[in-house]
């Protein structure tokens, strides 16, 4: 049997439609059609995690000759069970955009000139060396991302922290996951969720907090819908500041005022206690109560510093604290009726219902992001609905390896692959594994992401290497940071696959190998590590980011620390990296196991994955067979007394609208890859501003009218969308940030959570003008 490429694509088109139909209508059948069987020898199928979000869907990529030609969901991957979203199905097309960087470029006399990559790497090494000699080790920095494969982040951390001796290592996961990290650390003492995606199949109630899963995590959303379809009692409650596709699918959607989730969470806890729904045995045995500092600021000024101070209190103090958050008082702050708050509390408090809470950027991109993470954990801790099937507070990840690379390898200024730079034992472990003197590892963190770009603007940093991310689109208060990067005396290296606003400010562009053009590992939201082999050749002189780092490190004299051959360096790095996690709390699967399986969850002990941490029935690190929150010295999870505090900037007479920013289904973050996939680009060709129909009517604005959005920092003109995909309440506008033609972050504010240092992209004040 022969089959043409056209036949193949037609077959894939039909399959895509059938899968989409099966997602929406479980049990649907198409009796008149059987999928075309393709000749087995024409396509070689290999597993890989998807390149896009942190769900970690398993894909099978079909390769014909040297070209990836098809994608299908991996039925052996428990994450997606063969399903993909629209980005996943089209993912291989990101490899073949017409403007791929296939050679290095170096800025010469103001122009970017194609340059052999070895020469470009020489220039990068020479500039780094010169900067360190002239202005010190802390004048050089690397900024990566949650799209870094694990070996990329590991090599960057070892090179910069272990060899050069600077903690100037940050990643864009600071912009999306940092509050989830500090939320976990402050409540449980260890990072990353305790639950897993099996919670989706077991929960009776889902409460999503500021989270549009229908667009951002569509495969997990489909699993939620499938659970509801199969069990009539399952409910989905959408707590949100703006109506979305998720709101439409939910059983109930509750709109709340921006930032007031803090008050709602406390009011739910008040109601749980007031109605005697507290799981007293769980609280007595496994929970302790704590306060921290209040009125903690917003970080809008340079050199802002904050450190929290915990004090232990008792349950009675907690009850007294909650008296400020009766449902009636919380209604005044949140705009949510006391009746709805009581309804939410009744769902969480019902001992017969298993409840899973999901959140992403609504809670994490928040000037009190750590606090709201703490407060949702409080609800689950008071009711004992945690670390058991279906009972799960769960922060979903936005990037494919924000967990695997940034959180687990620790590519943040204060982190090491195991622990933090401030801890002497952790530094000793790192120095021993890395083969460097302990004195090399600086015990003091330097700059978190916003402060790192402020340091670049000030000139405290004058060399920055940016890999796998696009900060000249994503930084809040963008104009300052773009202007800073372009100042004289700054040297910017960008490892990229396509031209972006970030490569526009580069002095050297290094062409990167992408996804299945190199071997690597991602780690998804549920502690699952996934390996991908190199499936297709790299284009031109494109080079794996890990290998770029190794090459520059060797040029700076660190051959001993980076001795590996090009044939086996990914496996060698994995074997070295996993020494950092060799304990029942975080043991990881071997290289061999990961190459053979569609992902393995850690802790992986005695050949067994851990589905639920901190529960002795499932977690081998626990003492005994009940709950053991072993991350904290008292082996208890901490309930925090965190108050409502207002956002850094709220609408006023001059700037009367909230600006909320976010993403759309079709595009991956800044769109540098998905906008080069023709079908996704056509489906969502440009960004827009969502305006409430009443506000639009009052302004005389109709669909497609041009509107100027003005804040105290900048302005932008874009087309209005009314009653489109989403609908903000009166007094709010929403803008997706995927389109580099409309840099909405020139308008946003660089305020952040003082504990996590994660900026708040969801709330600032703007005014609108009809253009």
């Amino acid at each position: 049997m022969t089959i043409t490429r056209r036949d193949f694509i037609r077959a894939m088109a039909l399959k895509s439609a059938a899968v989409a139909a099966a997602t929406m209508f479980p049990g649907i059948s198409f009796a008149s059609w059987k999928p075309t069987d393709l000749p087995a020898d024409s396509i070689l199928w290999s597993k890989t995690p998807c390149r896009f979000c942190g769900t970690g869907c398993g894909l099978l990529v079909g390769v014909s000759g040297e070209r990836a030609v098809a994608v299908k969901g991996d039925p052996n991957c428990s994450v997606n069970k063969g399903l993909c979203c629209v980005k996943g199905y089209h993912s291989i097309q990101i490899l073949y955009g017409k403007d791929r960087f296939t050679t290095a470029y170096v800025r010469k006399d103001g122009k970017m000139v194609a340059t052999p990559i070895e020469e470009a790497l020489d220039i990068v090494a020479a500039q780094m060396k010169s900067a360190i000699e002239k202005t010190g080790k802390d004048s050089v920095a690397i900024y990566g991302s949650g799209q870094w494969s694990i070996p990329d982040g590991y090599a960057a951390s070892k090179f910069f922290k272990g060899c050069i001796g600077t903690n100037n290592v940050e990643a864009n996961a600071r912009l999306c996951m940092a509050s989830a990290v500090t939320g976990c650390l402050t409540t449980f003492g260890l990072d990353e969720p305790m639950g897993c995606y099996e919670d989706i199949d077991n929960a009776d109630v889902f409460i999503t907090w500021g989270n549009n899963m229908a667009e951002m995590h569509p495969v997990l959303f489909s699993r939620m819908l499938a659970n509801r379809k199969s069990k009539t009692h399952v409910q989905i409650i959408d707590l949100t500041t703006r109506s979305t596709r998720s709101s439409l699918a939910a059983d109930k959607s509750i709109l709340f005022n921006p930032q007031s989730d803090l008050a709602i969470a406390n009011a739910i806890c008040y109601e749980i206690i007031n109605n005697n729904w507290v799981n007293q045995a769980f609280v007595t045995d496994h929970v302790s109560f704590h306060t921290g500092k209040t009125n903690i600021g917003y970080g809008t000024e340079d050199h802002f510093a904050f450190s929290d101070k915990a004090e232990t209190v008792d349950f009675e103090a907690y009850k007294t604290f909650l008296k400020d958050y009766t449902p009636e008082l919380a209604e005044k702050i949140s705009g949510v009726s006391a009746e709805d708050i009581k309804y939410l509390a009744a769902l969480y408090g019902d001992p017969e219902k298993k409840v899973t809470s999901f959140w992403t950027m609504g809670m994490n991109q928040h000037t009190r992001g750590t606090w709201i993470n703490n407060l949702v954990y409080n609800i689950h801790l008071l009711t004992g609905k945690i670390s058991s099937p279906g009972n799960s507070p769960f922060s979903l990840t936005g990037q494919p390896s924000a967990c695997g690379t940034v959180r687990e390898v620790g590519t943040l200024t204060h982190k090491l692959p195991h622990g933090v730079v401030m801890n002497e034992d952790h530094r000793k472990m790192a120095a021993k594994i890395w083969g460097v003197p302990e004195s090399n590892i600086d015990p003091k963190p330097t700059y978190h992401t916003v402060e790192m770009f402020r340091a670049l603007d000030r000139g405290d940093i004058n060399f920055m290497w940016i890999q796998v991310t696009n900060p000249m689109v994503t930084m809040p208060n963008l104009t300052r940071y773009r202007d800073g990067a372009k100042k004289d005396g700054r040297f910017i290296v960008v490892s990229e696959i396509y031209p972006t606003p970030t490569s526009d400010v580069a002095d050297v562009i290094l062409p990167s190998a992408l996804w299945v053009e190199r071997e690597g590992f991602f780690g998804n939201s549920e502690r699952r590590t996934q390996h991908n082999a190199q499936l297709v050749p790299k284009p031109g002189e494109a080079m794996c980011n890990t290998w770029q780092l190794i090459q520059v490190a060797r040029r700076l004299g660190f051959e001993k620390q980076f001795p590996w051959s090009q044939d086996s360096y990914i496996e060698d790095i994995w074997n070295e990296y996993t020494k950092f996690h060799d304990s029942p709390k975080h043991r990881m699967a071997s290289y061999k196991e990961l190459t053979e399986r569609s992902g393995v969850q850690w802790p992986f002990v005695d050949g067994k994955e851990t589905r639920w941490r901190y529960n002795g029935k499932y977690d081998p690190a626990c003492q005994g067979d009940t709950w053991d929150f072993y991350g904290k010295p008292d082996h208890r999870a901490w309930v925090w007394l965190r108050p409502y505090e207002p956002p850094a900037e709220s609408p006023d007479r001059d700037y009367p609208f909230w600006l909320n920013t976010g993403r759309v289904l079709e595009h991956w973050h800044t769109g540098s890859m998905t906008r080069r996939i023709p079908i996704l680009h056509k489906a969502m060709p440009e960004s827009y501003v969502e305006i409430n129909p009443e506000d639009a009517k009052n302004m005389g604005v109709v669909n497609g009218s041009k509107v100027k959005i003005i804040s105290r920092r900048g302005s932008i003109v874009m087309k209005a969308s009314i009653n489109g995909r989403g609908n903000p309440p009166m007094g709010m506008v929403f803008v997706p940030f995927f389109d580099e033609s409309y840099l909405i972050n020139e308008v946003t504010l660089d305020a952040f959570c003082p504990i996590s240092k994660q900026p708040d992209y969801k709330k600032c004040a703007v005014k609108l003008e009809k253009v």
Binding site: R5, R6, I9, R10, M12, A13, L14, S16, A17, A18, V19, A20, A21, M24, F25, G27, I28, S29, F30, A31, S32, W33, V86, Y89, Q93, P678, I679, K682, A683
Partner: protein
Amino acid sequence: MPIFSFLAYPEKSMKDQLIKDLSEMQYCEVKPSENREVLILLTDTPDEETSKTLIDTIKDLKSLQSLSMTFGHTDL
């Protein structure tokens, strides 16, 4: 030479009519569900202009309630 697939939803009680309407159109292939009010539509046209015209025509069908794209490939 674009290829697209869609889920096509008929107006109430007009599934058979929608199948007939689409089946009679050039460049269209229809796979109706036997147990749901939805059908798969595959369009395979010689060029982008024909594709656009075809889809506009389909959208005007009285038997069609809505059309949801599930796959598209234009680089053939």
